[in-house]
Subunit: 356 residues, 2 copies
C-alpha cells in the first residue's frame, strides 16, 4: 500500500491540494548545488553517451578506496533499488527462498514475490527493541535458503544493528553457506556507528546509494560491492537492462563523494534535530524506539488499524505509511521526517490530534 | 560478442589507443544544447526527487499526442532497453516462447535466455532483401508462443518493413492471439516512411526512445505504449526496479519533443549523407541492402569469419560488430555510421583494405 498512498498523494497534489508528505524517504533538502554543477559541466563536455555497464572507473575507484575494496568489486547501479532487484534476481531466479527480517522495506518482499521466490519472514518486535533472534534465524534456514536480506540501519525503525547480533548473523550465514545482502543505504548518515557487512570479507554483498546521504533520490544512482564474479554477473544483467547510469550522473556522484565530509555532516545534523523534535512530540501518545538513523520513526498505538488511519490522515492533508507496508504491523505506521521542521511539526500535531 | 568488443574497445581507448568506433549505435553528434539546458534548469528548480513510476504526466501527454493515444497508454522507461527487458520479463517469466526474426538486436535473445524463455528464430536473408516469410512465421507459432519481437526499422540491416508484410504479420498474430512487441527506435529518423504497430490498435506494444532521434543515448530514457492494463503492470515493475527516470531527464526529453521537427530533420540529413557515402565505398567489395534508416550497414562477404575479422580489425584500430552478434550470420558484420564523416571514411578504407 506504500506505492498506492504515494501515487494518491501525488495525485492530490497535482489537483492543487496541500499535502504534508511524511510518507516516503525523499528528503525535502535540495541536492547540493556543487553536485548539480558537476552534472551540468559533464553534460556540456559531452558525457551524454553510452558507457560501461560496470560504471565509470573513476567512480568505482573512489568507492573502492572509501570501502577498502578493489574497483573490481564495485558496480554502479541505477539506484540502490535496482542493485537490490538485480541481486535478488540473480540469486533467486532459479528458485529457493530468502529470509527477510521484519519490519522490512516494502520492495524486498514485493521483489521476491515478483520473482516467484518464497519469502521467510523473521519477525522482530518493538518490545525487543527490534533485535533479531539468532535461534529463530538459524531455525528458518533450510536447504533452499539462498539469501538473507539485512537493512542496517533499518527502514522503517531507524534502528542500527547491534554489532554482536550482526556477528552472530554472519556466523550462522557462513556456517550454512547463505549469502547476506546488506542494504546500508542509511549507514553513512546514521547517528551511531554502523558496522558494515564488508568487515566480514567478500562472501556477502553490500548495497548502497547516493540518494539518502546526498539528497540525490531522484537521480537514481547506487552501487553494489561484492566479489568480482558477482560483479561481473550483475554487469551482464546491466548490459541488457539499464545499460549504464548516465555518465554525467556518475560525475555528479563523484563530486558528492569528494565533498562527503562537508555535505553529509550537515545533512546528518539536520536529521538529528528532526528526530529529537519528533521524539519529543510523539512520546506522549505513541510507543517507539528513538531513531538511530535519519528519516523514520515507526511508532505503535495499541488497537490501531493503520491502513484506515493512513487513508483518513491523507484526507486531512498528511501522508504517512501504514505499518502493513512493512510486514504484519497493523498497529504501527511510519513517519518520514523528510519535510522542513515547521511542516513536520504541523504534521505531527495533526497525527497526535487524529489519534486522540 | 557485441558487448565484449565494446568493453575491449573502451579499454584500448582508456589505454590511450585511437579506435575508430563503428561498433555501436552511439552517435558522435552531441546532445543538442537546448536539451542540456532544459535538464540543467530542471535540476536547479529542484526536480531531483523521486517521482511517479509511470513517468511525468506532461511528458506522457506529449507522447500521447504525438502517437495518437491516451496518456494512460504511455509509461516512461529508463532507456528503451529497459522497456524491452521489462516487457519481455512480464510476458515470459511464466514460461512460453518468443519469436524473433533474425538478424536481431543482440539484447532480445540475451534477454530471452536470461529469462529462461525459449526463443524461436525466424531467419531472413540478404538475398530476399531481409523480407519476413509469412508462412514460416505462421508455422513457428505454437500454443506456447507468447510474443513476436519486431524491430522496424531493423538493427543491424537498416531495412524498413514493407507495410504489406507488416499487415500480414499482424493478421497472423491477431488470429493466433500472440502479442507483438515492436521496437521502432529508429522509426522517427528513418529515410523512408515506417508504418507503426500503433496503427493496428492496442493489442500490441510499441517500444521507443530518445537515444537515436535526439542523440541522447547516455541519458537512458525511452517509453512503452500499450493498453492501460499492461502499462499499469509495467509501472508496478518500475516501482521495484528503476523507480523513476530522473525528472530533469524527463524535462530534457520534453524539450527535445518540442524541438523535434527542427532537431531530427538535421540529424536525419546527416545520416543520409553518411549512408550514401558508405554505400559508395563498400559496394565494390561487399554485398548489402542500402540503408533505409540511420546508423547501420550489414554487409556480407562470402567465406568471411566475421568474429576473427572483427578482432583483427580492432587491433588495426577499427571497431565493428561481428554478424554472429545478430544471429547466425558469420559472413556478415555490422558497421555503425556513428562517427564524423572523415573518420567513417578512414574506417571504411581500413575495412576494405583488410578484406582484400
Amino acid at each position: 500500500m506504500l506505492y498506492e498512498i504515494n501515487e494518491k498523494a501525488l495525485k492530490l497534489e497535482s489537483e492543487g491540494k496541500k499535502i504534508i508528505r511524511l510518507n516516503i524517504g525523499d528528503p525535502d533538502l535540495a541536492t547540493p548545488n556543487e553536485i548539480i554543477e558537476a552534472a551540468y559541466a559533464a553534460m556540456k563536455k559531452g558525457k551524454t553517451k553510452y558507457s560501461s555497464s560496470y560504471g565509470e572507473l573513476s567512480l568505482r575507484e573512489k568507492l573502492a578506496e572509501i570501502h577498502g575494496v578493489s574497483a573490481d568489486n564495485v558496480v554502479i547501479t541505477a539506484g540502490s533499488k535496482w542493485g537490490i532487484f538485480a541481486t535478488m534476481y540473480l540469486m533467486l531466479r532459479n528458485g529457493g527462498n530468502v529470509i527477510i527480517p521484519t519490519p522490512y522495506w516494502t520492495a524486498y518482499e514485493l521483489t521476491a514475490k515478483t520473482l516467484g521466490a518464497q519469502t521467510k519472514l523473521l519477525r522482530t518486535e518493538l518490545d525487543d527493541k527490534w533485535r533479531i533472534d539468532l535461534d529463530k534465524l538459524e531455525n528458518l534456514i533450510d536447504k533452499e535458503t539462498r539469501m538473507i536480506i539485512l537493512n542496517n540501519p533499518n527502514n522503517p525503525t531507524s534502528k542500527v544493528m547491534d554489532p554482536d547480533v550482526l556477528d552472530g548473523i554472519v556466523g550462522i550465514a557462513n556456517r550454512k553457506g547463505v549469502t547476506i545482502l546488506s542494504d546500508e543505504v542509511y549507514g553513512t548518515i546514521a547517528f551511531v556507528k554502523t558496522k558494515s557487512i564488508l568487515e566480514y570479507g567478500d562472501n556477502h554483498i553490500l548495497s548502497n546509494g547516493f540518494s539518502k546521504t546526498f539528497t540525490m533520490t531522484g537521480w537514481r544512482i547506487g552501487y553494489i560491492i561484492a566479489n568480482k564474479e558477482f560483479v561481473d554477473q550483475l554487469t551482464r544483467l546491466n548490459q541488457i537492462t539499464i545499460n549504464n547510469v548516465p555518465v554525467f550522473t556518475q560525475e555528479a556522484a563523484l563530486k558528492a563523494l569528494e565533498l562527503q565530509g562537508q555535505l553529509s555532516n550537515a545533512i546528518k545534523e539536520e536529521y538529528q534535530k528532526r528526530a529529537k523534535m519528533a521524539s519529543e512530540i510523539l512520546k506522549t501518545v505513541l510507543e517507539f524506539t528513538e531513531p538511530e538513523a535519519p528519516f523514520y520513526v515507526f511508532p505503535r498505538k495499541r488497537g490501531l488499524d493503520s491502513e484506515r488511519f493512513t487513508l483518513d490522515l491523507l484526507d486531512k492533508g498528511v501522508a504517512v505509511a501504514p505499518g502493513t507496508a512493512f510486514g504484519d504491523y497493523r498497529e504501527h505506521f511510519r513517519i518520514s521526517l523528510t519535510a522542513p521542521r515547521a511542516e513536520i511539526e504541523a504534521g505531527l500535531d495533526k497525527i497526535c490530534e487524529a489519534l486522540e
